[in-house]
């Protein structure tokens, strides 16, 4: 699939969702436009864009850069690191309030350094501890940023 066709799928998906959701909103009249008018107009424009790029984005034509095929094999290989980071970040968000900043941030850094950056255990652990505690001191103590206390009540 070409890059333009991939983008067109995003525009179509959001356009369809926006269109059907907007239908439930009051449209009002021209002298008193309702809350549904703007979203429905935008959804239609997105649908038109999506359909246009789906047709125009076929794998031939002058603009080769964007019509080149997305090589999904290579993309999936390249996706490994971003996926790991996304997964670890999602886990951090889940435990952030309960575990508190100090614990969750240190663990987060340790997992990223050890698993993603591939530092050895004896390097990752002290590094994560130093950055975790250092950042907590910097943000919470020096800059007075509100951070969740969690398990350590800090």
């Amino acid at each position: 699939m070409t890059r333009d066709r991939t983008a067109s799928l995003l525009f179509l998906a959001v356009g369809i969702y926006g269109f059907f959701y907007s239908l439930q909103l009051p449209m009002g009249r021209w002298n008193e436009p309702g809350p549904g008018v703007f979203p429905i107009a935008l959804s239609i424009l997105l649908l038109v864009s999506g359909v246009s790029w789906f047709i125009l984005g076929r794998p031939r034509g002058a603009d080769k850069d964007l019509r080149e095929k997305v090589r999904w094999g290579d993309t999936l290989k390249a996706l490994a690191t971003p996926l790991k980071i996304t997964g670890v970040t999602a886990l951090l968000i889940l435990v952030f309030h309960h575990a508190g900043y100090l614990v969750s941030a240190t663990l987060y850094l340790f997992v990223l350094l050890f698993w993603v950056s591939r530092y050895r255990f004896i390097v990752s652990l002290p590094l994560a501890l130093a950055i975790g505690v250092g950042s907590w001191y910097f943000f919470h103590k020096l800059l007075s940023v509100q951070l969740p206390k969690g398990l350590l009540f800090l």
């Binding site: 890059r3 333009d4 991939t6 983008a7 995003l10 525009f11 959001v14 926006g18 959701y21 909103l25 009051p26 009249r29 021209w30 002298n31 008193e32 436009p33 809350p35 008018v37 703007f38 979203p39 935008l42 959804s43 424009l45 997105l46 864009s49 999506g50 246009s52 790029w53 850069d65 964007l66 997305v70 390249a78 690191t81 971003p82 980071i85 996304t86 970040t89 951090l92 968000i93 952030f96 309030h97 941030a105 987060y108 850094l109 990223l112 350094l113 993603v116 950056s117 591939r118 530092y119 590094l127 950055i131 950042s135 943000f139 800059l143 007075s144 940023v145 509100q146 951070l147 969740p148």
Partner: protein
């Protein structure tokens, strides 16, 4: 009070010990985030927003603006010495700057870049000082139809000035506008796209969106590549340019100031565009254009001046109309809103201390930055010795803390991650996220102005060509639209796009 009287009182505010200190911190932090690839001015400003909570509005905006224009100074250092742009606006500086380094003239390139940034930055502050109050005075008379017309021009410009083609940028603008409608409708109180999630009632926060799309998305892309960095060292005595280099730089510096100032007034990727336009202008005006690409000082002087001038003029629409032209001014606008100050036509008359204090601090900041960026360049370069494998978890953590600290909400962290993934995906398919973010910011005002205008005219669209202002603005946007459609149908690459290809 006249301009000079107001400026004098601005200097009184800016020269207080506290504000000088805040200006210095902003410039220092700005240079650091400019030097480090992966953290731009947007992330730099967002991270220090929580710090501004304990400050007054003047101190807050002085510090945040310092980061904004400081990042433009710092961005050129890595472009010249490593061929890695520290900031997107410095991409074009790599072409000639790095070649100069390879020829042993990296020091001179750094000097001219810092000097050009200083001149461009200072001249744009003069422009800002003159233009912003005049524009604000004019804009006070604006009602909903005029506001809608101004925003319509901004949107068509967004389409044409984005880094992609018009037809590829516009769907991103529509997407941003649609995201901007999420939350409670300001006129009727109806809830839109909220699905009973209370955190969405106030709409999606700009900070998590901008930080996610620009910060997290950038990191996710960067981790796909291995970053092998070769850093060239520069000695202090190598910083001085030769007489010929100095003579060759004056023209590009003044032309770059004009180009940067004009382009910075428009929404979109103004910094990037201004540096490309300046580069192409210098190449066209050169006696030997074929030498471009082999390390010409004009190719460093012009673009670096232009992107600094653009950062000054970008403050004009933001402060006088309340229309941010890029994600970084938009985040500064949020910081001002947190302090209870709304940028717009009444901002300068209601808060002259904040406005003139900011202007005076920008003069001061430019002097600080030239000192920071020339003799102390080695200190900033040493930041680049931190391996990216350590740097990226720290940047991610900073993005998370910066987002969390504004509303202490984990929901906003989820939004950050979602837009990080979206930003990554959009970059992979070579579309541009910046128009989406800008559309999201300006969208609610545009919708409100349109609906209020139609209510006022009892549903008649004639209200948009009743006054000469709206008629002119609608005419301009229609002309731009036709031109963009013509360019989209008959695609020819702009000269700056060709220059980028040649350079890379």
């Amino acid at each position: 009070m006249d301009v000079f009287g107001s400026l004098a009182s601005g200097f009184e505010t800016a020269l207080s010990l506290k504000n000088v200190y805040l200006c210095f911190i902003g410039c220092l932090w700005g240079t650091m985030v400019g030097v480090l690839p992966g953290i731009g001015p947007l992330a730099g400003i967002t991270l220090l927003i929580p710090v501004t909570f304990g400050l007054d509005a003047t101190g807050a905006i002085i510090m945040l603006a310092g980061i904004y224009y400081g990042a433009m100074y710092g961005g050129s250092t890595t472009s010249i010495l490593m061929n890695v742009p520290g900031e997107s606006a410095s991409v074009v500086t790599c072409i000639e700057g790095y070649k100069m380094t390879l020829k042993g003239r990296g020091g001179a390139a750094l000097f001219i870049s810092a000097w050009g940034s200083f001149v461009g930055g200072t001249l744009s502050i003069v422009g800002l000082m003159v233009l912003a109050p005049t524009l604000a005075e004019f804009a006070v008379k604006f009602g909903p139809p005029e506001m809608f017309s101004v925003l319509l021009v901004a949107f068509v410009l967004l389409g044409s000035l984005g880094s992609g083609s018009f037809f590829r940028t516009m769907p991103m603008v529509f997407l941003g506008l649609l995201i901007g409608t999420i939350g409670m409708d300001p006129l009727t109180g109806s809830l839109r796209f909220t699905h009973n999630i209370t955190e969405l009632y106030d709409g999606i926060g700009l900070l998590p969106v901008a930080m996610g799309a620009m910060g997290v998305g950038e990191i996710l892309i960067a981790t796909e590549e291995s970053l092998l960095r070769i850093i060239h060292k520069v000695k202090l005595r190598e910083l001085l340019p030769t007489r010929d280099e100095l003579r060759a730089s004056w023209g590009p510096i003044f032309r770059g100031s004009g180009i940067g100032f004009l382009i910075g007034l428009m929404p979109g990727s103004a910094h990037v565009l201004s540096s490309f336009v300046s580069y192409m202008t210098e190449k066209r005006m050169a006696k030997r254009p074929e030498e471009f690409g082999s390390g010409r000082i004009e190719g460093v002087a012009g673009p670096e001046t232009a992107n600094n001038a653009a950062s000054g003029s970008a403050m004009v629409p933001f402060l006088s109309l309340g229309i941010p032209t890029g994600p970084a001014p938009a985040v500064m606008m949020i910081a001002l809103l947190i302090h209870g100050i709304s940028p717009g036509p009444l901002f300068i008359s209601k808060h002259p201390d904040v406005f003139w204090g900011l202007i005076a601090s920008m003069y001061l900041g430019n002097v600080m930055l030239i000192i920071l960026n020339l003799p102390l360049v080695g200190i900033f370069i040493s930041l680049l010795r931190i391996p990216f494998r350590i740097l990226f978890p720290v940047i991610l953590l900073i993005c998370l803390v910066g987002t969390y600290s504004v509303n202490t909400s984990t929901f906003e962290l989820s939004v950050l991650l979602f837009f990080g993934i979206l930003g990554y995906f959009i970059r992979k398919i070579k579309y541009d996220m910046a128009p989406l973010i800008l559309a999201m910011i300006i969208g609610p005002t545009m919708e409100l102005s349109l609906r209020q205008a139609l209510m006022r005219s009892d549903g008649s669209f004639a209200i948009f060509w009743d006054s000469p202002i709206t008629m002119t603005l609608i005419g301009v946007s229609l002309l731009l639209l036709v031109w963009n459609i013509y360019r989209g149908v008959r695609p020819t690459k702009a000269s700056w796009e060709k220059a980028l290809e040649e350079g890379s």
